[in-house]
Symmetry: D2
Subunit: 258 residues, 4 copies
Amino acid sequence: MISAIVSGFTGAMGQKVLAMIQADAQLQLVGVYNPSVTDLTPATYDLAPTVQVFNQLDQITIGADVWLDFSTPSGAFANTQFAIEHGIRPVIGTSGMSEAQIAELQQLANQRHVGGIIAANFGVSAVLMMKFAQLAAKYFDHAEVVEYHHDDKRDAPSGTALNTAKLIYDAQGHDEPGNPREQDPLGARGGDYHGIKIHAIRLPGFVADEEAIFGGPGETLTIKQSTTDRASFMTGVRLALDAVMTRDELIVGLEQLI
Amino acid sequence: MISAIVSGFTGAMGQKVLAMIQADAQLQLVGVYNPSVTDLTPATYDLAPTVQVFNQLDQITIGADVWLDFSTPSGAFANTQFAIEHGIRPVIGTSGMSEAQIAELQQLANQRHVGGIIAANFGVSAVLMMKFAQLAAKYFDHAEVVEYHHDDKRDAPSGTALNTAKLIYDAQGHDEPGNPREQDPLGARGGDYHGIKIHAIRLPGFVADEEAIFGGPGETLTIKQSTTDRASFMTGVRLALDAVMTRDELIVGLEQLI
Amino acid sequence: MISAIVSGFTGAMGQKVLAMIQADAQLQLVGVYNPSVTDLTPATYDLAPTVQVFNQLDQITIGADVWLDFSTPSGAFANTQFAIEHGIRPVIGTSGMSEAQIAELQQLANQRHVGGIIAANFGVSAVLMMKFAQLAAKYFDHAEVVEYHHDDKRDAPSGTALNTAKLIYDAQGHDEPGNPREQDPLGARGGDYHGIKIHAIRLPGFVADEEAIFGGPGETLTIKQSTTDRASFMTGVRLALDAVMTRDELIVGLEQLI
Amino acid sequence: MISAIVSGFTGAMGQKVLAMIQADAQLQLVGVYNPSVTDLTPATYDLAPTVQVFNQLDQITIGADVWLDFSTPSGAFANTQFAIEHGIRPVIGTSGMSEAQIAELQQLANQRHVGGIIAANFGVSAVLMMKFAQLAAKYFDHAEVVEYHHDDKRDAPSGTALNTAKLIYDAQGHDEPGNPREQDPLGARGGDYHGIKIHAIRLPGFVADEEAIFGGPGETLTIKQSTTDRASFMTGVRLALDAVMTRDELIVGLEQLI
């Protein structure tokens, strides 16, 4: 039985985390935290009376095995620091911390032998896609990355697509050769990362799909992950919960566990 | 039984045309033509003794139902003109004629009531893909086109992809709305045709695939054609052979028959 | 401006219909109906005070342009009959009516010149997929159907997949030839409808995807629709709303409008 | 520079092997072997005069670094034995040897410290697909396998598809749970291997595609390899050539190198 405190419990991801915990007999919710709430009655949030609601960090004296944080960037560092100092293993999905902040937290966790994880993406299929792309890159000289997202997404390409191209480049060790005779007046060949082309498709109906395609003489290899519901992150969060219980350092990235 | 003369019979496509004719009991090869050959012995080309080999247009006096032309741009116009004037229905896959030349040939064919077809692409799946994209465009405000070709291809996007975008635009009747907040520093969003994005992927292992993707709230529709062997053109050529036998005008584009 | 009454307004689909109407300036919600509710206060259901809540058919005297029904099978016939008799054009997504009942309603609507539609599936991409499959079937001798659904789905294949196979068979006019030498000890070749193989995939992560694949020498054509959110049905409902305003008969199937 | 003898040089695969060697400056063809040929003149087979043509094993006294065998099952064992005994590293794509024969050859190669490989499939993308499927299986409880081949293929499912299901089952360690309420009157759910469903699609236009699909809450992961030309095997053969030069045992399966 793993006891948990959920930070950012009123947000969309926080609510999915609560649902996951409540559906899992191995997990027990003991507290929730959000500095913006004023009502501290559990029933207001459809929580059992045994769950304590907090709006100030220093009032959280109950202890727990894990600290699940899907809140806002502004509080991420302080929350994680608080958790480590109180021996509560942090599982952090909140973005916005600097590399320096993360390094400081890692040092603190190491000193106190507290296991934990900070991850930008808890999607298991996305992490596996990147991992397999990295492995495949050794056997193919040519790769392209295609990602498909809803038309409201502002940034192109997606962070996962760019990261996938980086992992492929690192594995290949050199720029991919282009076709010097190619003519592309419209820019249809897409974005370029060391010769690896990246294509971003934006259409309503997609949630988030990421695809790496490798080509060699007479064959192609495609690794594609498709997200239809952000609840998919809960698979990765669950994996992380088990992992941090047996670790004694703060790791960065779900790929470290897979 | 349809009797045929094949122009450009020594080329790659010409050879596939010969193979198709020989495998089809409804078709009979009576002559072949190539101004570059010097040896006029059928056996030299593994042809039956009844097949006549020509290297000059004005020596072709045998008559036939159809003239299949998969030769070189320089001879396309003269060949087609010759066929029409001799009442041999032209089925022309050779590219390179100007619009003016095509118009002149159409006028000639109409005068003489000779059926025929000039097509840049005899791929049935490609023509159907374009047709369906055009139909779907009425029901979706958002579409993107993706094409996949081998890495030796020089032009991007493919003619079929650009043509598909044009057909979608024509059917929608207005530019597709973009996302004004989109940030795309690498050009990953691809080529643009009136708001319809076009993505060209170039990898060894692909022959020629073309894809139109439509998106609406909660759903996508994908129409994809994939070519694994250029022999696929023979399906369209066969379709054209039957069609020209019952027509009395020169049509342009396989889509006119489908 | 189209005024609407929504029957089955408390259900999942009914709620999506309400959301669609509220987001569309061309549509106006005037009433909602559900025989199971006891509280007739609009505010209870987050409805504007101008919207009337009904729990008995004979109390609905307000009149409206359209009657949107996404309720339960038991009430579908009576509801549709009531709407037609009161000159309210029915748009019926509720299943469960017999062919005899539908025929009776069609006769009634024709007599009264009331436009309407009964459809099992308001997914535009699904209807287009079926339509395109039917058109493509004329040009290919070989087709297979693949559908992908979540692992809780009980019936295999899906109704849409079976219907797609039927449409392909109708268009081809004869059984597809099989491979007499084929050996398939595990039944991996899937279900069979007149030689058209149907494959049902059941995995968590899929919502509902349907795919028709056609093959010819050296080429394939794939038509695939993918549903990521059941809200996709609203596109088809919206299309139907406009259509029934200008019709004077009760049609069956969204494909009649596309 | 690796010197090579090619056994089965007149067959389709043998010809592709010759072409690969001739195009690679690191490889040198020194001999070819086929017990069925009677003409031993290199020019007859478009080979350089320095290449020796053999039709009897015991006349091959020239020595070489590697023995490439893509011949017929009847000679595979004797050929491989001959190669090992003469210190020529075997790269064997010829099928038909029994497990006992392979074990005997492995023992012989180990004794003599001769590197070599016997592989049923030299397709790099297929081997990677299987490897990734095996890795992904640890993170997903649900997987299905789909394979697409030309309609002349006799066996369903393909050996690769069945092998992929086996690897997934081995990695998961238990049967996948089914849906006890599922109704499948047509057998559309396909073949079954310990709960992993296998679907075989047979259509002209496909060469050989293999796909593993994994599903979890809200996400899917698809690993697909596609073969458009059997020349793809040469990538794996080339990989094997380098590998056997630095090994001193006979390995079985390209996956041992990847």
